[in-house]
């Protein structure tokens, strides 16, 4: 692991701008930026209200309705734009929470070892062995279907991967010379953790996290597709595709929200990939979640 020597922070500063100059990086950044703008600007961009049911039902795309109308006479284009405010922030939230929870547990497991390590690893095994669908349905049924509950259900199945990766990284680092040297110098375990280990772990974990936003988006929209996420009449891409199945002929109802999911996920994947390429092509970490496919 020779390439992880040296302060990571400096490499961040020089390499990130470099990464984004690749075609993939630029495309990803632009698309992601567009979606973030759509989410932030929100209602300012909407031609109509996403909840108004005034228009003719199931109309194909026309000049007045670029993406057509849905089964209740709502404008699909507005709803696709509105969906950005729902899915993207929640995906980021999910990844953030997974990183924090998984990271902390993985740090503890890797650093303190022995029974802490065993316990955490067995728990991750247990969780990863659990079928995602059933867990999500149980959470939704007990707590009620809502986006936050979907995030909760997704969180439960997402943190183990981060715990595993963090633990693996910590185990690799804690025997490094400089860590041992600092311990010999009298650093307490906590200080050793904070000064020597965490900075080295943050980089790879953050890279994985950025790669994971796309997966989180897919997971959340998959849960909404199953009816376990967004509460109606919220405009959410996954549930819009689910309704579209009942109206096969009205292809515009499903194709456009699906394309929205696709472009958002692609953008974040491109970005994450470019980032990883620049910093360390070998941190092709294994995230191994049981997906809802």
């Amino acid at each position: 692991m020779s390439r992880l020597d040296g302060p990571l922070r400096a490499r961040f500063r020089t390499r990130i701008p470099q990464a984004w100059r690749t075609p993939l990086g630029i495309t990803g950044a632009v698309v992601a930026l567009v979606w973030i703008l759509i989410a932030v600007l929100g209602p300012a961009l909407w031609p109509y209200d996403p909840l108004t049911q005034d228009f003719a039902r199931l109309e194909p795309p026309t000049g007045a309705h670029w993406f057509g109308t849905d089964e209740l006479g709502r404008d699909v284009f507005t709803r696709v734009l509105a969906g950005a405010r729902v899915t993207v922030p929640l995906a980021v939230l999910l990844v953030g929470l997974s990183v924090v929870i998984g990271g902390v547990l993985g740090l503890a497991a890797g650093f303190f070892g022995r029974w802490v390590d065993e316990t955490v690893m067995r728990v991750t095994d247990l969780v990863m062995a659990f079928p995602t669908v059933i867990l999500a349905m149980v959470v939704a049924a007990s707590l009620g279907a809502s986006l936050l509950n979907a995030v909760l259900a997704a969180l439960v199945v997402s943190w183990p991967a981060y715990a595993r990766v963090t633990r693996g990284l910590v185990v690799g680092i804690r025997q490094a010379d400089y860590v041992l040297a600092d311990r010999l110098l009298g650093f307490s375990p906590l200080r050793s953790l904070g000064t020597d280990i965490v900075p080295m772990v943050t980089g790879p974990v953050l890279i994985l996290a950025s790669l994971d936003i796309g997966t989180a988006t897919l997971l959340l929209s998959g849960l909404s597709f199953l009816g376990l996420g967004a509460k109606p009449p919220t405009a959410e891409w996954g549930s819009m595709v689910a309704t579209a199945i009942q109206n096969f002929d009205s292809w515009w109802m499903g194709v456009f929200p699906g394309l929205a999911i696709l472009t958002v996920v692609m953008a974040f994947n491109f970005l994450g990939d470019a980032l990883r390429d620049a910093l360390d092509p070998r941190t092709a970490g294994v995230l191994g979640k049981a997906e809802t496919r």
Partner: protein
Amino acid sequence: MFGASRPVALVAAAAAVALAVAACGSGASGGGGSGPTLVIDSTFDLKTVDPGREYELTGQMLTHGMYETLLTFTGDDLTTPAPGLASSYELSPDAKTLTLPLAQGRVFSDGSPVTADDVVFSLQRVSGMKGNPSFLLDGVTVAKADDTTVVLTSAEPNAALPFILPNPALSVVNSKVVTANGGTTDDKDGAEKFLNTTSAGSGPYTLKSLDVASQAVLTKNAAYNGPAKPAYDNIVIRNVQAATQALNVQKGDSQVALDLSGDQVSGLDQGELTVTSGASAYTIFLFLNQGADISTTTSNAQYVSAVKKAIDYPGLLQVAGTGSVQPASMIPTMIAGSLPAAEVPKPDPAGAAAALAASGVSGQPPKLAYPSDFTLLGLSFQTLAERLQSQLAAAGITVELAPAPVATELDNYRNGKEEIGLWYWGPDFPDPSNYLAFAPDGLIGKRANWPASAAPDIDSAAKAAAAAVDPAERAGLYQEFQRSLNAGGPFIPLVQPATNVVTAKSVTGAAYNPIWTLDLGSVGVAGGQ
């Protein structure tokens, strides 16, 4: 190249072989016999085809095709019970005794004759097993008067009994065969497994194979000697989602699709297919909980009145699709006792606003609960609820949607915990007495926390209608009951969704029946194939 072309070439070759074989394979015609096969696509609601235990839609359709009942209905006429295995019926003046002389010469699929003993065994089995349909014969005892007559005695006057008997759950089974395979007339019965693999009835078809999750296959009953004319050698009923049904029937993979919604039907090419649309017997309704401890808002009489006036019923019909109707009462249009179309409630926005102001309710908006994953005849409750919320909001009435999967929501519903509930009622039998459930303290009345003491006049109207025996008098009294219910009750009938039966041009006689969906015995082939 590092030999990366090799894996690619392998894959290409494999794909080519697969495509070639598939091309040969998809030319295979379905069917195991030499005669015509009918493929029906339906969204399954099926647990078993043991007549004494089944009470789900698909089970009813299958059982009706394989077994026969004492009385039946012809086509979609639910007002007159027609002869089945009984040649006629006679109801005593006090409506407590029903005498049924049996038709002679009818046989089961194994050739043995249908006897009065078989009838008695079958009906006692339904009651005794305490399965889903046993409530149909609550308080009814069956006995044979002689070898050709069966008598049903009810503890209470039971004028509805001739309308209950056509239910496929009350089919006559071959008692010798069933007993030989573990059948009894009490809850120790063990014949279900057998009956899910082999049918023991006298109907036009017999069971060839059954997979409750995916497919049922019926074959023509060679020994059948009844009035129906089974036209197919094999009938395959497949479990398919509605959207895929539309694709399949258009491609010709199936010849009948049963669950398409009005929207899906309007996209079909009517030149190739026949679409029969009509109103179903389901009543989708809204109810407001009258328990003050559940919600002070919904139990407020003025609020209820405001909601009734605020709903834009034609707007709901728009979502429900062509063929759906707005019922004027909880009793749907095709059953006696329903109110005529002229008495349909009309939207009244001004009245709604006034009532809302007079009600003086404030605070948290009530929750509109409904099963999130439920679709009735192609109409999704989700869609309906969203439309309702929008309509009420336009009138100044805010409600929050609170969906939950049906298994969870059913519990809330049955325990009377829902503030506003969106549900449906399908008649167990086509008689107005089935709708006494909506009287105060009735089955559904309880779920709305609506006691008899809160509406004594409605309660007495219901009791008067229940006690009547003469058909004309009954119809009038039930109509009075419905009128008082509309005026002062917490139930709001919304829509009777449309049934759309889509068939290929080669299929004839596919009429919708609210009890058994499709009478498999009368579905025929056009052009004398």
